[in-house]
Subunit: 677 residues, 2 copies
């Protein structure tokens, strides 16, 4: 596959060389009754392709083989098992999708999959739905562009105001997603503009073309829809969930969708949020709204992903009583138990908006009778926009393994997997998803998919953590390196770890300090630094720095009361200055600059030191990467080098502006004597 | 004339009713040898139109008349004379343009022109060139839009990527300009993009169509050109002024222009400024660059307006040694005497960029052997963007009457008129312009021309002050009111004075304090408030506020040395805190918040008070204007009411953000106890 100007698209973690251990062997595929499944064809294709390239063979009869991929009716309902016995490695699954996932597990393991015998290992995904959301627009939006929060060129789905004729990039993308276990994709922006709304009606044949490309990789297609569709598309006078004509319109719309795409996943909805229409206009609540759509797709096995990202975006910066962080809980927690079984409430991991550091959203612990999905962001909106190296695996791992509910016993992953907790009411049940994980994708029509080639690792790690939230993110990174740079020099591997392992913490260290967030240019930009960029805005995103101190008092005792939305022990932990973690201090407390952190440093000295130290780290990366010239692909090397230069420039701006800003306000000198301007 | 949807375009200061005193009389027109001039036809048209509407008569023979407009070869070289004797009012001029200007002087005077006899009054324009620059783009610029810094809709010249077929708005605009003595117009943006560059070549026939519409009103047409034209349009390898091929290219280009438009005015050039190409690329200076173009147009009587707006726009905010305010002087003062006679150096009135308050540019006093034009800005880029009432007549009057050179004896108007000063070297001479006044226009294809209907007064006052810089700006405003609202209720006149007379000072009082400038959103926006909007930027526009004080030290003693660019007594006046005017204090000095102004208030209390008081003023305007409903045109009333609501909202934001910003930094309470957030 090539772009028009014949520059090959980067293979990401699926270069041919990564298939050598599998492809050099005799691989028997026994598909059973699933042989007619489109995914079965993919399994066969992958084996044919690998063995053709590396000298092995596809075995479809009972002949001798080194590897067996076998359908079995009593295998686990999802995922696969692996065994090695008598020199043969077996992968067993209940369906073709499981076999595909098992095949890629062998690829990832490489020669290690063919070592010593081992008993059966069961590999089951934790989150039943593992989704990627695309914030792609069909029409280029005058402000937000082709891909809202896209940092990797245009859309792989749309160009020139319509679905692309040539969808070969989508096919390649589907293969990448299938290889890491992603099983759902929403193909248009949750801010649904007029043209995009019509995908649901006039555009269905195009959606079907896209779905046809995802299906062979075990990925179901979803659409973001506008709650106002009955008015905008149907010409009805209302979109009121209680109106029978509205209900009938949605039912008919769903019927048409499923007649065209029988395995269509369902809808993603952003309602009554940041200007999108929703049920509030009719005096209805979010449960009414979500259930309206859910009942339309329920007869077809469809699911509605309803976003909990609802807050007042016309806030008065003068009014310290309101708190955007409280909003999702205040809106949704009272609705627990009111959502239909095929509604999944999609909750951003933190209470604000994909900041570099946020506490985990208390909504996730507050709705035991609701199916929940946690929403992450692979696209680096606030984390360097794919100009900066910022490997997000450690952030997501921390979120997913965070023991939010029931004291220390239930982590976020188990909550969104729908595992019932000891104190929970009746757990969700039925054939519909019990929860999920979703994230905004970071790909575009860029040669390297993600703008910054190293940002591919974020997409990879997201898929892998969605499958197994307990995985070590640094081990996943190593896995990604091995696949993406097969046979690479040891120095390549070491240098990538040097740059990437701690890059999230490094990014945090030169940007907004101690959990306070933002400090970026508002609107379309969301790139920094701009310390006061959001300070006097309507968005509810403030740091309240003055000459004495900084931070947001969200305590119950003296602040907005947000800490009270957490279950114990977190409400007490965050409430108390003595126990609040340093990295979230300014999210929860307004403190004087001289406040001493658990680290032993004052807040102001921490601000000074971290920013300066982090720039030193980033600056060292430039030389480290430079030393790899000739050891990795030249184009990739040049692209990374170009982005590292921007990262150093930007990080230096962050350092100097943040240090100067707080020095001008506090008047406290940097005890190390490093220059402040 | 109407727009496509039949809403009539507002007649501005030329409604039919304003012509009643003249039009109800017998008007004799004696054009002499100028009868064939296109302007002569306009004079006749105006008289015919006025007398037809109001019962008078055009007299072209020796019959009795009440008014005479007469050509005379020994009348003043520019302008006209008026006399009233024996009950007959006479206007005498040496050419048809003078008669047109005299005719409109009668219209402005109204019945007063027909009162008691009076001896001859000579009315001669001060600035030989009185120009308007249009920053209109042909192609809509992706960032800056159709009209760069345009706040009144699209361009009257261009639409859909080309010169409009229907130029009727241009014809009406030309009539408005001719009526107030404007005699030059540049029809495209000084930032010359690719499409606009071609006006000089492929687009000449369209330029000629535009020039044909301006010519009958005594207005010559100019083009903004790209210094890189020989490369971009001519395909030459260089634009070096010393290259004979480049010189020949420009000469040939000028020959073609003048073959098409014999009275073409000349070129406007922004070179080596904010990314525009210029002579620096070839190791040449601005005199080399300007003279290159001047020599191309000299054989045809053309003039080059060369902008002095040159500075480093990649400044490091950390570096307090550089000072953008110094740039124009540093670049141009050493070149005095090096420019050809048909070059006019176009100097912004202040050293920065059209701020609400700036000191007068020292360049104007520094180049006695150079023809100079002062550049004003009618479009309200930094003064409320035609959302805010901000009558700029008082600002321009203050600039033009400012005694900058030779102590208190020579004002800016006399400098740009080319009047030699007592200590000057050989004054400019010859048949080419000795100087001029130019300004960026504020009109667009808006129904009211200027977005805010009251912003028409700025266009009017600009033309009148360009003719007579000594005119009282409030008297000009009264004149404008009389023409624009003929026969209006006394309350209309009084209310308009209430809103407009001091509106510039009111705007200043709620925005950036004490001459420090900016505090707006950067880039395309330039609307506020955003106190730190330009603080950490590359644009050289800082206020340096910290917890102790604010302002820019531009003194010779301890600062950037900018005060040393002024002649005495200004260098001493600005240098010394004891004599520096309050309103420019923070432009010249960094002072503690407790510094006591000449007004007796501290800086911080002034910041607090002025902002709060000014919002009270603006808020009162809403009721005052509301009371005029029914007394002025309904559509105009509604438009102004809508803009006033925005002005109150915006002024309130300014008040609250500026007060809070400085309170957070200074910690000093407002002694009046008014709320700070």
């Amino acid at each position: 596959m090539s772009t028009a100007d014949t520059i090959p698209v980067h293979p990401a973690w699926l270069p041919d060389a990564a298939f050598a251990p599998l492809g050099s062997r005799r691989v028997r595929v026994a598909l059973g009754p699933d042989a007619a499944d489109p995914v079965a064809a993919t399994v066969l294709d992958e084996v044919r392709r690998a063995t053709a390239a590396h000298g092995g063979a596809l075995v479809t009869d009972d002949g001798p083989s080194d590897v067996v991929l076998r359908w079995e009716p009593d295998a686990p309902a999802a995922g696969f098992t692996t065994t090695r016995t008598g020199g043969v490695t077996s992968v067993v699954a209940r369906d073709a999708v499981g076999l595909l996932h098992g095949l890629h597990a062998l690829v990832r393991a490489g020669e290690a999959a063919f070592g010593a015998d081992h008993p059966t290992v069961v590999d089951t995904p934790v989150a039943p739905v593992r989704m990627l959301d695309h914030w792609d627009n069909i029409d280029v939006h005058p402000v937000m562009g082709q891909v809202e929060r896209g940092y990797a060129g245009g859309s792989i789905f749309y160009a020139d105001g319509r679905v692309r004729d040539d969808l070969s990039r989508v096919a390649a993308y589907a293969r990448l997603l299938g290889s890491i276990g992603i099983n759902a994709v929403a193909i248009n922006n949750v801010n649904v503009h007029r043209t995009e709304a019509r995908l649901l009606t006039d555009g269905l044949s195009d959606v079907a073309r896209v779905a046809d490309l995802f299906r062979p990789h075990g990925v179901r297609t979803y659409l973001s829809v506008s709650f106002a569709s009955p008015v905008v598309l149907g010409g009805l006078p209302t979109s009121d969930p209680a109106d029978p004509d509205v209900q009938a319109w949605w039912a008919a719309a769903a019927d048409r969708v499923y007649a065209t795409i029988p395995d269509f996943g369902g809808f993603v909805v952003k309602a009554d949020s940041e200007g999108q229409p929703g049920p509030f206009a009719y005096g209805r609540d979010h449960a009414d709204g979500a259930n309206l759509l859910a009942r339309a797709v329920a007869p077809h096995g469809g699911t509605v992903f309803w976003r909990a990202f609802v807050y007042n975006h016309e806030q008065d910066w003068r009014d310290r009583r309101t708190d955007r962080a409280r909003a999702a809980y205040d809106h949704f927690a009272p609705l627990d138990g009111r959502f239909d079984d095929n509604v999944v409430l999609q909750v951003k991991y933190g209470p604000m908006d994909f900041q570099t550091r946020e506490p985990v959203s208390p909504v996730l612990a507050a709705m035991p009778r609701t199916r929940l999905a946690v929403e992450l962001q692979v696209t680096q909106e606030y984390t360097g926009q794919q100009q900066h190296v910022c490997y997000l695996g450690p952030l997501w791992s921390q979120v997913l393994t965070f023991p939010l509910a029931d004291g220390a016993t239930r982590d976020v992953a188990s909550i969104v997997a729908g595992v019932p907790g000891p104190g929970a009411d009746a757990p969700p049940s039925g054939s519909t998803p019990t929860g999920g994980i979703t994230a905004v994708s970071n790909v575009g029509d860029d040669e390297f998919w993600t703008g910054h080639p190293l940002a591919q690792a974020n997409l990879y790690a997201y898929g892998r953590l969605a499958w197994d939230p307990q995985a070590d993110p640094v081990a996943l990174l190593d896995e990604w390196i091995g696949l993406t740079f097969p046979g690479a020099d040891r120095r390549v591997r070491d240098t990538l770890h040097t740059l990437m392992d701690g890059s999230w913490l490094t990014y945090e260290a030169y940007t907004a300090p101690l959990g306070v967030g933002f400090m970026v240019d508002p609107g379309r930009q969301h790139y920094g630094p701009n310390v006061d960029g959001y300070e006097y805005s309507k968005w509810g995103t403030y740091h309240f720095a003055d000459r004495d101190g900084v931070g947001v008092d969200r305590t119950v005792a003296t602040g907005t009361g947000y800490t009270g939305q957490y279950p114990s022990p977190w409400r007490e932990t965050y409430e108390d200055l003595a126990t609040c973690p340093d990295e979230l201090l300014l999210f929860f407390h307004h403190v004087p600059y001289g406040h001493v952190l658990h680290s032993g440093r004052t807040v102001i000295q921490h601000v000074y030191d971290s920013r300066a130290d982090a720039v030193d780290v980033v600056t060292a990366w430039v030389d480290a990467w430079s030393a790899l010239r000739g050891l990795v692909d030249d184009r990739l090397h040049a692209r990374v080098a170009e982005r590292l230069a921007e990262q150093v420039r930007s990080a230096t701006e962050w350092r100097d502006q943040v240090r100067t800003y707080f020095f001008r306000k506090s008047g406290v000198p940097d005890t190390t004597g490093r220059p402040i301007h």
